[in-house]
């Protein structure tokens, strides 16, 4: 049986990659993909904890799975809106570089 820490390490690596991408990438679509990575890392964490928790309880409850499913739904909605925004920005400014979209600069 694979220990819990392995899952957590994979999730942490995945999250860090996502965070690095979200902070350092220039392309707005790439930032969106990085955010998806972070969300999925969190999902791995949730499912891993759920699995081990079910085993200690001795029976299967659905809470963790439902939680993960809701996160996936939220991620899907977020991607839909994020892509729509990026397309709208692109139509206006002919660019998808996040740092060039700085109309709110103080």
């Amino acid at each position: 049986m694979i220990p819990l820490s392995w899952y957590l390490i994979v999730a942490a690596v995945l999250f860090s990659v996502g965070m690095f991408g979200a902070i350092s990438r220039k392309n707005a679509i790439a930032i969106l993909i990085s955010i998806e990575l972070m969300l999925n890392a969190v999902n791995i964490n949730i499912l891993a904890f759920w699995h081990y928790h079910s085993q200690t309880l001795g029976y299967t409850d659905l809470h963790g799975m439902v939680f993960a499913a809701i996160v996936i739904m939220a991620a899907a909605a977020e991607v839909a809106i994020g892509l729509a925004l990026i397309i709208a920005v692109y139509r206006q400014r002919k660019t998808v570089v996040a740092s060039e979209v700085n109309a709110l600069k103080g």
Binding site: M19, I23, A98, V101, K105, G106
Partner: protein, 719 residues
């Protein structure tokens, strides 16, 4: 028929007319005078019904309601009709209605508007151009016609309230409203300085008496706990008042209260020394305000004195030992009677003669009360009201006729000066006949006129009571009265016209002559109700109704001691003698300037013509010092120096303190602090500006940093 309710209703129609005229109909002259006359007429109908009920049943009508709650009890007000109220109602109702009708003609209803008349001045007359293109001057309508009817309606209301009330409080209310109306009507032509001054003089002079009267009422209320006649005039209360000693001069309370209320009477009925307002009151619209000041309002004072006779005479046994208020009344009354009769002799203004004669006749009544001739005083009150109303309305008619002549001839003469008249008997026959009747009643022409009977009663009352001084003073006054009455009649009506205006004088309209005729009927017939039974030959033919009727009100019978023919002979001699002498002296005056008395009395005439210089003395003794005090002490010292000085000091202190606060607190703390705060905010903003790069990833890093920091702090605090 509910006569109590009817009595309540007597004063109300004129009050309603007053409000309707002032609130709604004052733009419409015809509607206004119709309303006023309808109001007065309705009151007249009610009064006559109550009067005939009262004399028919000889039963007192009383009715009262709770008005104001006073702790556990209620203050009651109400109405009462006894013998005195009934006869007063009789003459008030008649004279008031006659004033109202007369005023329509007097204020030139139906005449055109004047060319340059304006409110506040008497009408100047209008110029008309007739068909032939000729200019014609005619009388013009009063500019404030409706307003006048409003005022006299209010006046009528007040007089009725005073007469029908059964307590001194509502009597006092009516009394004061009449004071107000008197002021408003004397100052009716307020743009004339003399009218304005006369109005103020009347108001202030009567106020002096009223203040004392109010003190008297307060004392009475404190002592007896009531202002109702039936309580105050009950035997026990009178006895208590007469026997307890007041703190002033050792007078009994009845004496003190009597004197205080007598002051009110002196002010209202214009007795010496408060008589000065009445002659000046002739500044008002000629006959009407004059008549208020002759027939009705000044009668209110005597009415109160008669009403109050039980208190004034409390402790009097009917003999010659008079109570203090009675002595004062006898002295003031007889002195005033003689004093103002002598002034009347030297007056040239037709109205002023009558004004002084009014004062003199009121003096007769007060003197009669002073010697205990209660019924004679009430009798003279009624007859005088009627014939003096007649005389004043007649004089207004004379002046009106003269004004007509003055407008016609465009002469610049005073239409009220008797020396500018003469021979008016042919021009104004109705006025002449009625004025003659009124004048003879005033002079006491024997047997026919009402004035003879009432004056004879007063003289015999004074003589039979043994008050010889009062008797002779009144007899001399009566002689002078007859003299100046004949002087007036001769100067106005007899002889030949002395000016061309008098030649063109004209009889006045029917609305003015009708009241004259009605009143002259009363001026003769009203005397017959009071012919004494012991009178030779005609005594007893008509029963002495008045004495029986009024005598029923007195608590104790004051039996007449004996009847002497001396007073009768005296009244015959003085009235006929005075009339004869007056006619003899003034029968054929030709020039307009000199009075025959002027050379025969020389210096004395001047004193009389100047009214004994009383006005000048008051001016010197009271008015000047008051004005000096007001100007120098009150205004210049107290007001300007002390009060203004204090206020200016407070102002300066505040200014100084404000300046200090500004430099110490406002500028350094509030202003600078505000500025600093604004600068700080600005600086902080410009420093924080760099964080707002507009780049989404920078915000993400910041959010991460803060959430890490927050998580760390959270961890630190919780674990």
């Amino acid at each position: 028929m509910n006569y109590e309710l009817l009595t309540w209703l007597i004063p109300l129609p004129p009050l309603l007319a007053f409000f309707i005229i002032f609130l709604a109909t004052h733009k419409n002259n015809k509607l206004s005078h119709s309303l006023a006359i309808a109001g007065a007429g309705l009151s007249w109908v009610f009064s006559m019904m109550v009067f005939f009920f009262a004399i028919g049943y000889e039963k007192e009508l009383t009715s009262s309601i709770s008005w104001l709650p006073t702790a556990e009890t209620w203050l009651n007000i109400g109405v009462q009709v006894d013998a005195l109220t009934a006869i007063t109602l009789f003459f008030v109702a008649w004279t008031v209605l006659m004033i109202f009708i007369y005023s329509v003609g007097y204020h030139n209803f139906g005449q055109p508007k004047g060319d340059h008349d304006r409110p506040g001045l008497a009408p100047h007359g209008a110029e008309l151009i007739d068909q032939d293109g000729k200019h014609k001057h005619v009388l013009s309508i009063e500019p404030m016609y409706a307003r006048f009817f409003g005022f006299i309606s209010l006046f009528a209301f007040a007089m009725y309230v005073l007469v029908v009330s059964n307590n001194l409080l509502t009597l006092y209310i009516g009394w004061e409203i009449m004071g107000l109306c008197s002021y408003l009507l004397i100052g009716f032509w307020y743009a004339k300085p003399s009218a304005k001054a006369a109005a103020q003089k009347a108001f202030l002079t009567t106020r002096i008496g009223d203040v004392f009267m109010l003190i008297g009422l307060a004392a009475l209320y404190t002592l007896t706990g009531s202002l109702h006649y039936e309580v105050i005039f009950s035997e026990t209360v009178l006895h208590d008042l007469a026997t307890t000693i007041s703190p002033v001069f050792g007078l009994s309370w009845a004496g003190l209260i009597g004197l205080l209320i007598l002051m009110g009477v002196v002010g209202k009925s214009s007795q010496f020394p408060l008589h000065v307002w009445l002659p000046d009151a002739m500044e008002g619209p000629t006959p009407v305000s004059a008549m208020i000041h002759a027939a009705t309002m000044v009668s209110a004072g005597v009415y109160l004195a008669i009403r109050f006779f039980p208190v004034l005479s409390a402790g009097w046994d009917g003999g010659s030992a008079l109570t203090t208020p009675m002595v004062v009344m006898a002295a003031i009354g007889s002195f005033t009677a003689l004093f103002s009769a002598t002034i009347a002799v030297a007056q040239r203004d037709v109205k002023r003669v009558l004004a002084y004669s009014t004062i003199s006749q009121l003096g007769f009544m007060i003197a009669a009360l002073g010697v205990g001739a209660y019924i004679a005083a009430a009798f003279h009150l009624v007859t005088h009201a009627i014939f003096k109303a007649l005389l004043f309305l007649g004089s207004g008619s004379i002046i009106h006729g003269m004004e007509h002549g003055v407008l016609h001839t465009q002469e610049h003469i005073d239409p009220q000066d008797m020396y500018n008249m003469g021979g008016l008997r042919k021009k104004m026959p109705i006025t002449f006949i009625t004025f003659l009747i009124g004048g003879f009643a005033l002079a006491g022409f024997p047997f026919i006129t009402a004035g003879f009977w009432s004056k004879d009663e007063i003289l015999s009352g004074a003589f039979n009571g043994g008050f010889n001084v009062v008797f002779w003073v009144l007899a001399i006054s009566a002689f002078i009265t007859a003299f100046y009455t004949m002087r007036q009649i001769s100067l106005v009506f007899l002889g030949n016209p002395r000016t061309s205006a008098a030649k063109h004088a004209h009889e006045t309209t029917a609305t003015m002559t009708f009241p004259l005729v009605i009143l002259s009927i009363f001026a003769i017939s009203i005397g017959w109700v009071g012919i004494p039974e012991y009178f030779p030959v005609i005594g007893g033919i008509v029963p002495n109704w008045l004495e029986t009727f009024l005598g029923s009100m007195l608590h104790s019978e004051h039996a007449e001691a004996h009847h002497s023919s001396i007073p009768l002979i005296t009244s015959l001699v003085v009235s006929l003698g005075g009339l004869f002498l007056g006619g003899l002296v003034y029968r054929k005056i030709q020039n307009t300037e000199k009075d025959p008395l002027e050379w025969s009395l020389s210096g004395v005439y001047k004193v009389l013509a100047n009214k004994y210089y009383i006005d000048e003395i008051y001016q010197f003794v009271f008015i000047r010092p008051t004005e000096w005090f007001a100007e120098k002490i009150v205004y210049q010292l107290i007001d300007q120096k002390i009060l203004d000085g204090f206020l200016h000091g407070v102002g300066k202190l505040s200014m100084w303190l404000g300046g200090k606060f500004r430099f110490w607190f406002d500028l350094p703390i509030i202003n600078k602090g505000g500025d600093k705060m604004a600068l700080g905010a600005q600086k902080m903003g410009s420093n924080l500006k760099v964080t707002q790069s507009g780049r989404i990833q920078d915000y993400m890093v910041l959010a991460l940093a803060f959430s890490l920091l927050g998580g760390f702090l959270f961890y630190l605090l919780l674990f």
